[in-house]
Amino acid sequence: MEPLIEIRDIWRVYEIGDSQVAALQGVTLEIERGDFVAVMGASGSGKSTLMNLLGCLDRPDRGSYRLGGREVASLGADELAEIRSHEIGFVFQSFNLIPRTSALENVELPLVYGGVPVAEQRERAREALRAVGLGDRAEHLPSQLSGGQQQRVAIARALVNRPSLLLADEPTGNLDSAASLEIMAIFERLNREGGITLIVVTHEPDIAAFARRVITFRDGRVVSDERHAAAAAPREARA
């Protein structure tokens, strides 16, 4: 079966004043469907740039990016929005829920923009909230929820359009260890049971240990790409 993600010799160069900074310098990667990948590296190593490209928020300056067999490196802004809407879910370090808007409405947002029939929206949003254990908090505002709960709402929002790819950028960076474990447990379950492809950017080895594959970046290049034995260790640690 063809890999979900296929990037070949991807370059991304930023111009800062007069100088040019190459955040990604010819990265080539393949990520299989249903894989659970951790991306590690120091800040400035290019891992966030890679996430932006994989998430179709940005376009590479050079190289090819095939998502699900479709070349997306050269698509326009609206087409990228379309792909984000249907193929990709985002989870951010700082949750990024829309303030003063209920959990339910936050989760509905991708459905509204994704053109899901009105009749379906509310039910699907509730279902997604139930799936992350927040069925009883649907009407709460983000400010009325704990950090872990907010991140779970964000996960529900990322999943509600049934994407094939979930991208999480330091999803536990603002959470205490108990909440972090909760979130990672949800990710693991989604990956194992739902078969969703999961890419998590982190610089914490504990978090990376949940993944089956760990890719490490330095100076815009892949410096190591290791495969774990089916994430066995963390599961034992949790038990």
Partner: protein, 410 residues
């Protein structure tokens, strides 16, 4: 559909979140629209009043008065010199083809007595054609006839004001006897109420009697056969200019005025006067409207300013929306809806305030005002347009944001 519902809900929530700011932003449009509504009502009211007053004089009417505005350097006003005669009036009726009807009059201030009451008014001696020429029918009784004129009958037709002063309520003036300068007259009719002229003269304060009766029995003094004024009508407004030309030519011939010499009479076109005053009030109204529109535009600039602030404040929210699949046009629509909601709400409040101001002005200053549905609808549409116009730039700025930069915005 859901998208529009949600967009509207988001917009209203954003506006509610900052009630004070939204209110102040709207204020510009509120004041602008209120000014437009109030100005248009005053303008329309004035226009209507002038039109009614002028129409009350008669339509398609020409007035010929003796004396010119300048006559050999000597300025003389209404009836300053008695140069017009009954002969002139009859000649206009017979020899000017564009003239459909003609009437002439002499007038004098007289004291009138009826029973125990007396009143000082104007006695107007005129022809039986007067009622038709001035388009001024009798409300009761009848107007005098050619036979009355020929026989110099002592019959009188009263204006409403005179009736009010000489007869008690419920008393029928028709058939009553009155004395004009001690000459007994029989009242044969009462004229319809005509109201004030544009210059504030009460047209109903008048007694109309046959011309010959006036000459012989009431006014007396002066040269027989002179008149104070000649009225001429045409059957259509288009013929007024032609009639003016014909009357001028005819009277210059009759008065033996050499080419190059000034006329010793003046022909006034009431339609021209109406048009002139209409033009004046319309010009005033458009000037006021222009000023009001400017304040509406200033209101629009206020909306744009606040929207730019709002776009910056909500940069992160825009980034989130884009990340979950919002396209540029979704973001554009959202901020446009917000702008339109602001300006339309302002417009609505402005219409209400405008109506209230117009009422207040009309009560306090006593100016006639006329609320115009067109102006209300127009200013609502215009304020929506202001919203679209001034909302577009901030909305486009929001829609063109780079999602990554927006997400990273603190």
């Amino acid at each position: 559909m859901r998208l529009i519902g949600m967009t509207l809900r988001t917009a209203l929530r954003a506006l509610r979140r900052n009630k004070m700011r939204s209110g102040l932003t709207m204020l510009g449009v509120v004041i602008g629209v209120a000014a437009v509504i109030a100005m248009v009502s005053i303008g329309e009211g004035a226009n209507q009043a002038v039109k009614q007053q002028i129409e009350s004089l008669g339509t398609n009417l020409l007035m010929v008065i003796p004396g010119a505005t300048t006559s050999n350097g000597v300025r003389s006003g209404w009836g300053g010199v008695s140069t017009l005669t009954v002969g002139d009036s009859e000649a206009i009726g017979n020899e000017a083809p564009a003239v459909a009807g003609v009437s002439h009059l002499r007038r004098q201030v007289v004291q009138v007595v009826a029973g125990s009451l007396n009143w000082s008014t104007v006695a107007q001696g005129t022809t039986p054609s007067y009622a038709a020429v001035r388009n001024w029918p009798v409300a009761e009784g009848e107007f005098f006839t050619d036979a009355d004129e020929r026989g110099a009958a002592r019959v009188a037709v009263l204006g409403q004001t005179v009736v009010d002063h000489l007869f008690g309520p419920g008393e029928d003036p028709v058939g009553a006897e009155i004395r004009i300068k001690d000459v007994p007259f029989r009242v044969i009719g009462v004229l319809e109420k005509k109201g004030q002229t544009a210059w504030g003269q009460d047209q109903d304060d008048v007694i109309v009697i046959p011309f010959r009766t006036a000459e012989r029995r009431v006014i007396g003094a002066g040269i027989l056969g002179t008149v104070d004024m000649v009225f001429a009508t045409t059957s259509s407004a288009q013929e007024l200019d032609e009639a003016t030309r014909q009357i001028t030519t005819l009277l210059r011939q009759r008065h033996r005025i050499q080419p190059g010499q000034d006329d010793d009479f003046t022909v006034r076109n009431l339609n021209d006067m109406a048009r002139a005053s209409e033009t004046t009030s319309r010009l005033m109204a458009s000037l006021l409207l222009a000023v009001a529109s400017i304040s509406l535009l200033v209101g629009g600039v206020g909306i744009m300013n606040i929207l730019l602030v709002s776009v910056t404040e909500r940069t992160r929210e825009i980034g989130i929306r884009m990340a979950v699949g919002a396209k540029g046009r979704h973001i554009l629509l959202q901020f446009l809806v917000e702008a339109i909601a602001l300006s339309l709400a302002g417009g609505l409040a402005g219409v209400l305030l405008g109506i209230a101001s117009a009422r207040l002005i009309s009560r306090l200053a006593g100016w006639p005002t006329l609320l115009s549905a067109g102006a209300m609808l127009g200013s609502l549409l215009f304020s929506a347009a202001v919203g679209v116009f001034f909302g577009f730039y901030p909305a486009r700025k929001a829609a063109r944001m780079d999602p990554i930069a927006a997400l990273r915005y603190e």
